[in-house]
Every structure is written in C-alpha cells, then in structure tokens.
Symmetry: C2
Subunit: 138 residues, 2 copies
C-alpha cells in the first residue's frame, strides 16, 4: 500500500498516520503538547516507540523540531502546516467517538470554539456516503 | 487508553479503528466491498489478520454480517449505521492525502458526488485549530 504508485489518498494517509500512537501524538500536539517527556507521560507509551513515532512524524513533514521556547536545552515537536491540516482528521475521530462510544450522560472531553465558548459544530462531508462514489481510473 | 474511563473521544475512536487495516477495510466497505475474499484480494492482507479485524469491527458495531445478497452461501460484511457515520473520518483522511501526499499533477482516485459528477468539496471544521481548545474537565 505504501508503494508510491498507490492512487488512493486514504491509503497513503493511513500508511503514514494510521496507527494508534501516531494519531494520539498528533492529537496531543493539537492540544499544545511539545516535549518528549510530556507526550511520554500523557500517553504512557514506551520511550523507544515514542521516539520512533516522533521520528516518523518529523520525516513525514507532520511535526518539526525546534529548540525549547523557554531557552532550555529541550527539543520541542511542533505541528508543521501539513500537520495542522490534519485537524479535520482528529475532529472527525473525536466527533464519531462522541456520538458512538459514550453512554448517554457519560461525560467526555469537549472541543470548544474559543470564540463562542461552545462545542465546535459537527462536521460532515457535503454528500452522504450513498451519494458519493470513488473514481479509480483517470 | 481503552479503559472505559477514557474521557477523550479521539482516544476511544483510535482504540477501535486506529490501525491501518481497520481503516482500509472501512474504506473498502464504503466502496461497496462486502466479501472476505474481496477484502483479502484488494488489501493483500493475511487471512488471519483480516479475520481478526473483521471480527473486531463487527464486535465494535461498525460492520454487521449478512447472508450473501445473491443467495450463495457467502457471508457479507456491511457497514452498520455507526459504521456509515465513519464517512467523515475516511473523507478527512482522503482529503489530507490528496493535498499532501501526491506530487503536482500526479493522479489520485477521486471521491465524486454522484449528483454533480464533481469531486466532493473539501471538508473542514467550523473553526481553525488555533481557535479551538479541548475542555478536559466537566
């Protein structure tokens, strides 16, 4: 699937970020997390796996490294513009989970529009699945 | 992360479908694929892994099994309503890939609106990442 000839954008995306840790690291990066130790503590993942995923996300141009903003010797991992544009992916995962993986009345974290103080509205494509089809040949 | 107390809907979603094979099986199901052999041939994955992923997707209420529509003894795997509502996730992965993982002029498969014959419009949340924040406490 990762062969460059793969014509399906879903497959290419999934080959890059379609694993639990990468998606959770990107989620945390959107939450403002920047440091190895913070990702490691928050995700409770093995340091070697975290190192591997961070390296892959940097190689993929989703994260970039920067010197620590506070002048310490820490390195920080920050979303690139391409990484920032993964926002719809994370929001779609969040909104599906909100609707299908919580019991009635069970509390979940909320994505809030800072401007309105209200939850970010539900996002969906302009067409329903049965009104869409994939064109597989030019 | 998969502990039921996990308050983050992104994490709960990722725990269920945050792996390459599950996402590609869901993609193929949206494309109308229904049979074990068709998934297996299209994804080129080991039968035991495909069996495991299909079972997990059925247990998660994303796919359901049905007798073959043509009256043969085959079993078919069809998206449930909860599975259908993963459409924004697949579209977001597709649209990110289209924008970031193809060279200029390189052809990719396209998601077409059957009504207009045109590509499904780009989908994004109502707010930019920097205008959103996650509320982690009730």
């Amino acid at each position: 699937m990762s062969k460059k000839s793969e014509p399906c954008p879903v497959a290419r995306s999934v080959d890059l970020i379609g694993d639990r840790w990468s998606l959770l690291i990107v989620r945390d990066a959107f939450d403002g997390m920047r440091r190895f130790g913070d990702f490691q503590r928050n995700l409770g993942m093995a340091r070697n796996i975290l190192s591997d995923r961070l390296r892959r996300l940097v190689e993929a141009g989703i994260l970039e490294t920067r010197p620590a903003s506070d002048g310490t010797s820490y390195q920080e991992y920050v979303l690139t513009p391409a990484g920032e544009s993964l926002f719809p992916v994370i929001v779609a995962l969040r909104q599906w989970g909100e609707r299908h993986l919580f019991a009635k009345g069970e509390w979940h974290s909320q994505l809030i529009d800072k401007g309105t103080g209200k939850p970010v509205p539900f996002m969906s494509p302009a067409v329903a699945p049965d009104q869409a089809e994939v064109r597989k040949k030019p």
